[in-house]
């Protein structure tokens, strides 16, 4: 009897790619999609934004915690967030996937559906236009995303000016709290806070609030590695100092307090939710600097740009914490 859910290596590259790409819809900009040596994408403007991000099993995710659908969704989210942080509209993604020898076709299909769901919800003008399928000892996911600036200048991390406001668009600390909940040996903890674990497993960067290039944004960054580290990057690139006001961050911390208490009640270790807010990565919200007179719904002002270097919290230096994807 044939197994109704064969291994990917049993059906081979061509059939596996055919099945996976059957889950994808093309976008108006997709002139030639999967199947040739390369894809062809039409862009309204002539400047293209390109970014890439890799997720590696047991380093960036665990198969025991993330479903294939989650991983496809997250791979889209992290990459389109980077495109949006440049002020561009995501139009095309190419996806390199390495599966393991024991990966089933059903896993591949869930992954493909997660990719398309992420596109549908976060970047409906985009499409998967190509990719590559291989086998390896770990699941490897490398996505390259492309955006159209539609004639606008890119928004760089080097554009912050003295006197600008600093604002957050999106959440802070939820993904880090969600990760601690997911990693806890008591599985009921993660189940009690689905809103926090969801941000870790399927982050939803608020691209909809950035639609059509909001004027007055002087710099922008996708917060992937934590506020303290990513703010330091803006400060360094712009040659300025970012002064954060902890009172403006209390709201982000408050909604994490109950989860911190629940964790402490299990293992006796006290968590400070503000640590998650300041140093936790992977929420994939946006850190922006804004001209003084500008305000937009969905943007929470948390400080101001001044002369100097590095990042201050309530006037004291805030050393960059967060995540280095390579260091020991």
């Amino acid at each position: 009897m044939k197994n109704s859910d064969p291994l990917v290596i049993e059906i081979g590259e061509r059939e596996a790619i055919r099945l996976a790409t059957s889950q994808f819809r093309s976008a108006p900009s997709t002139l030639v999609g999967p199947g040739d040596d390369a894809a062809v994408v039409g862009l309204a403007g002539s400047n293209v934004v390109i970014t890439t991000d890799t997720m590696i099993e047991d380093h960036d995710f665990k198969l025991s915690l993330s479903s294939a659908f989650d991983l496809g969704y997250k791979a889209v989210a992290t990459n389109v967030a980077d495109v949006a942080a440049m002020g561009a509209n995501p139009v095309a993604l190419v996806v390199s996937l390495a599966v393991k020898r024991d990966t089933r076709v059903s896993w591949l299909m869930d992954f493909a559906r997660g990719l398309q769901a992420g596109i549908d919800e976060l970047a409906p003008g985009a499409a998967v236009v190509g990719g590559d399928l291989a086998t390896a000892n770990q699941i490897l996911i490398a996505v390259t995303a492309h955006g159209d600036l539609a004639g606008r200048d890119p928004i760089l991390r080097s554009g912050a000016k003295i006197g600008d406001q600093i604002a957050i668009c999106g959440t802070l600390g939820k993904a880090a709290a969600g990760l601690e909940l997911l990693l806890h040996e008591d599985p009921t903890l993660a189940k009690s806070y689905p809103e926090l674990t969801a941000v870790q497993l399927r982050p939803t960067p608020p691209l909809h609030t950035l639609v059509s290039g909001l004027p007055g944004i002087t710099s922008m960054l996708d917060i992937s590695d934590g506020l303290s580290l990513d703010a330091d990057r803006v400060a360094t690139a712009s040659g300025v100092q970012l002064a954060l006001d902890s009172s403006k961050l209390l709201g982000f911390a408050a909604i994490l307090e109950q989860a911190a208490d629940s964790l402490q009640s299990r293992d006796g270790i006290k968590r400070n939710p503000m640590d998650w807010v300041l140093h936790g990565g992977e929420d994939h919200g946006f850190l922006v600097t804004l001209l003084p007179e500008v305000s937009y719904p969905g943007f929470k002002v948390i400080g101001s740009v001044q002369a100097g270097s590095g990042v201050l919290l309530d006037g004291k230096p805030l050393p960059p914490g967060g995540w280095d994807s390579v260091a020991d």
Copy 2:
């Protein structure tokens, strides 16, 4: 005493990326290079060609055979060949690299130099504009390459028409012969045929012969998986039959005969050089179909397109051989 060649994980992501990207030159089209959320690339035309290819240790290469420089060079070659096979000029590459915990910084730097050397020799108008660095249990290299069609239509594999000539631009079988030599237990064999092993380790797709979109090419494919398999892809995509003439392939086989004899003299196993020519992949030359009246220097006519399906060799069906990157 500090090790003069530290591990990549000892210096961390930021410093490792800084060192590696110091090896790269930007191209005129690079508006924003490595360092922000994404790169920005300017393109003369508005249609962009995108392709991606992944190389995984022990599956696509062995560190005992390929130097880091070789791997960087080959990663460029395979990807810019795909861009050129669409009729586009390579302009930008993003490179995702996963190193192992024991990978040294010197290896990373050799890899970066190999990338730049591949660009310099094969696609001097292009540049590495971004990338990603991670750690994994195997070395993983995923390159995404981008090309500019400069207003031309892409050349697809589906464009072959009955009556067209079939031609090869580049080499056939050298990479496969080179691989057998490299894998042979007697290391003097590989050393005796450096021209063949070089094609395997650092393929040089003849992009220079395709400069500025040669008119009269009706379809084109990068031969990465072997002539028989890639010709079958053109036949299927175009709805035609590709009839190959073995007498036109003898020249490709003749220059491999001495290597076949040398291998046989070591292990007694007879090789047919024509098998390398027909089924060996990784030379990364181009399989093209041409209008009947067209000829170009550097293109060797090997058959003609006729009504039917699949591939014929001297009138008999030639089943697709070659390489499936996933199947067992």
